[in-house]
Symmetry: C2
Subunit: 110 residues, 2 copies
Amino acid sequence: MIEIECHIIIKRNGISFLDAVKTELLEEIIKCGSLSSASKNLKISYQHAWNMIDLMNRVASEPLVNLSRGGANGGGAIITLYGKKTLKEFKLIEAEINKRVDQINVEINL
Amino acid sequence: MIEIECHIIIKRNGISFLDAVKTELLEEIIKCGSLSSASKNLKISYQHAWNMIDLMNRVASEPLVNLSRGGANGGGAIITLYGKKTLKEFKLIEAEINKRVDQINVEINL
């Protein structure tokens, strides 16, 4: 079976700061409230997760996650209001694009 | 400025065989008629280009490019009718999806 898939990226001033992998990390942070637990659940290193958040926060117009290093749980991670808004917008955009993708998948002839 | 970008992948039985990078390689092969020249123009190694074509040909229901190894020009590469059809379909799908992406980019509020 042939089908198309669409990967969405949100950019600011030409630099990517949000994609499917990073939204998954944001969702996991909302669930866990800690970057350490979120990275464990996603089977990625704490440093990799930290770098992703750091990049998002630097590229976006305001931080998406407030990070605090150290402590017994390896530091806290709290998603900001802007982070929640951006995540919601990403999901809406993804659903909108996927509606069109689903229509095309019905018509595809390869 | 915030904007979204969409990367399209075509899959067969769940395995990806065509994306923007591979379509660029197909277009370059049409221009050059040789994998060696195509890979040079795209600044990728001959082996990497060969592997991409090999994967496409194995995953798709029929070959997209006929490759012949050896010879003075490092072997010939001829796109098949199915390769041309698939490339055309990819471009049409990309244009369709990008119409929707452009509409969303006007509405985006982040």
